[in-house]
Symmetry: C2
Subunit: 423 residues, 2 copies
């Protein structure tokens, strides 16, 4: 295992990984729930046991990159409690119902044929991620539970941390008698490996990119393999003319400020023009007092001198920070038009007591998650009751919204007959 390899060596490594993953996927598709859970629990125990080694590996990564921004450093940093959270995450995945083998539907035909639609694993899943080393455990665990082999390709900054975590996953597989190739980590930081992964059609069934915009855009541009992609979460909260003010204040502040770095955080507040005098000022002041920078249209700027002018770019920006853009719109139709133009098909919410306006917003906003009278911060697999998630898909095929263990499965039809032939 070398850190820097010449391209042809990388190609050989990736080909071996691919062949190993295909064989392991076949084995894993037939593994019992007990075996998979045993591997997950043993991996969790190994994480706890190896916490010091993992933190040492993490220190090595941090030392190797002294010039990282504070945000990037925070993503890369592991602590005892973060290692414990990874271990607990694997235990929670073990506790989830096994999606594989579940009958999604079953029906009889007039000719007596009995048709069942049964969940099966997808096969081989490629995860391409950046500096968060915990993705190694989280994504690996979700793939394992759903019976898929995974090829994990972490960022170079977190290479040693991910390698240490991957070692714990391997201990789990070994204890359960599952082949190591069920969860493989690309053993090089050579960027050529990503390009090669994206060409491995016939081996990798789906790629899940996890990271910033430039990573996702590279993956979209280069991939020959289908993606569960999540470009960004440019989420909106629309306060309708018929909104309850107290509810609107509570929800808007939560939607923006509970955690500003998550994809379900609201980035733009849309307010019905009717509420320019009654609601807009207090909503904006709430945000300013919560420590949020507000960039607004002309009307919003009149509310408070701390409000800066919003530019065209602001409407298209996912801040992931304590910044919000605010504008008046002409009722629910105006909100829908703004979201259609600038939104990212992720999560959008309407606050209103008007059932007709809510129904129109539900019907016309083309996003994975559309909420009525609730915070956009609920955009999360756990909050949906789906358990852990590998991300939120903004695509419309296969997986949309939170991608949990069920979304990591396919299905097949099992048809039971008694000798039927087709006339």
């Amino acid at each position: 295992m070398t850190h820097h390899t010449v391209p042809s060596a990388v190609a050989t490594v990736m080909e071996d990984i691919g062949q190993g993953a295909k064989q392991a996927a076949h084995r894993l598709a037939l593994a019992s729930t007990e075996t998979k859970n045993k591997a997950l629990l043993a991996a969790a125990a190994a994480l706890r046991r190896s916490a010091n080694d993992i933190l040492e590996a993490n220190a090595k990564d941090l030392d190797a990159a002294p010039d990282l921004s504070a945000a990037l450093k925070d993503r890369l940093l592991l602590t005892s409690s973060r290692v414990e959270a990874m271990a607990r995450g694997l235990e929670e995945i073990a506790a989830l119902a096994d999606p594989v083998g579940v009958e999604m539907a079953r029906w009889q035909r007039p000719n007596g044929l009995d048709i069942a639609r049964v969940r099966v694993p997808i096969g081989v899943i490629g995860i391409i991620y950046e500096s968060r080393p915990n993705v190694t455990a989280d994504a690996g665990g979700l793939c394992l539970k759903s019976g898929n082999a995974a090829i994990l390709r972490g960022g170079s900054e977190s290479f040693h941390s991910s390698l240490a975590i991957h070692g714990c996953l391997q201990e789990g597989l070994a204890e359960a008698g599952l082949p190591p190739a069920c969860l493989q980590m690309v053993p090089t930081t050579d960027r050529a490996a990503v390009g090669l992964m994206l060409q491995m059609t016939g081996v990798i069934d789906v790629i899940v990119p996890r990271g910033g915009r430039s990573l996702i855009e590279r993956v979209i541009a280069e991939s020959r393999i289908p993606l569960f992609q999540h470009l960004e979460g440019l989420c909106h909260t629309y306060v309708d003319g018929a909104a309850d003010l107290a509810m609107a204040r509570r929800v808007v502040t939560n939607a923006k400020m509970r955690r500003t770095g998550v994809c379900g955080a609201t980035e733009t507040l849309l307010v019905d023009r009717k509420l320019a005098l009654s609601h807009l000022p207090v909503l904006v002041k709430d945000l300013l007092e919560a420590g949020c920078e507000v960039r607004g249209d002309a009307a919003t700027q009149t509310v408070d001198e701390r409000v800066r002018p919003a530019t065209e770019e602001d409407w298209a920006t996912e801040y992931l920070d304590a910044v919000i853009s605010v504008r008046l719109v002409d009722g629910v139709a105006g909100a829908i038009a703004h979201i259609a133009r600038y939104g990212s098909h992720h999560t959008d919410s309407i606050i209103t007591e008007d059932a007709v306006a809510a129904a129109q917003f539900f019907a016309e906003v083309d996003s994975a998650i559309v909420l009525h009278n609730a915070s956009t911060q609920f955009a999360d697999g756990g909050e949906f009751g789906m358990g852990a998630e590998i991300g939120i898909s903004t695509g419309k095929l296969h997986a949309r919204g939170p991608v949990g263990v069920e979304q990591l499965t396919s299905f097949k039809y099992l048809v039971r007959g008694a000798g039927q032939v087709r006339p």
Copy 2:
């Protein structure tokens, strides 16, 4: 509308088609079931009314290509009864339940949030097909019913026929007050248009290729857009050691010979080595007597002098003709291994009275449709009770198996709250 256009003109045409489709998709997503059915029924009426014009256009296509093979000519040929079948097909699609708006699931969370998963159209679907002009009506009708705008790109051989059929679809849209851009046909036979379609990310959500292997392979190689692909139907019937002979004879002959040109036709017969003397001879003789050419392994060649030797290539060939390859295998495990090596993940059947063997076959054969004691010719959306289909997908993402109106939809989550914020 010109037949031959310079590339830059084609690019402009395709861009206009794309923009039109996106706008139409938004409108169609909100169209009522009644409106969509009105368009379908009016299009069916227009097809009947315009039967003579369609047959004239078809004669023009046939005249323009005097050197077509008999099989290709048959695919291209329209008759009064084929036009009637298209009209009836649209009426059947109108009679199907509307998938859009259906609640697939709904549940409550402990915090009172009510979460519904509701079917919505995918958006814009590109159909790239070859010489069968009826695909224009069938695929157009399925897209319309499922609320998707369609961009139809037929083969150059069937250009005039498809154009005449497309005119009838347009009459249907007009009568229902739906925009013409709901169902657009690429108005040129320039092959550059296909290449352009395959690059229209952000406009076309999914491409459905319908045609022979070379078309599908070109689309797979060039497409930047997800596909519902159906590479081929290399289907197997395995007669297990515990098969009932009478049932096996009936099912095998039907699976191969009912219609040899459909994708669910069996191409390879696998017989348990235990049955080499008891069952193999009669199964092979049934096929020979039904007019099927048999290409067999050494054991099969001893059965009858008309059996030709099978080559390695035979196991990998989808004949779509009255030809079958036959070989002995070592029980169900041998059958599974053969199918894993040569199959196309489409449809495979086991004939056995042994429930354990059937369960193993169900678990380990990685195909969209796996049957027990039934003919592979049941691989069909209509036979599954799903109504008309646009094809059988051999991919594992989103749609697998028959692709009917439900498979042409996506979903979104509608979350109803009472002011909930996330702690």
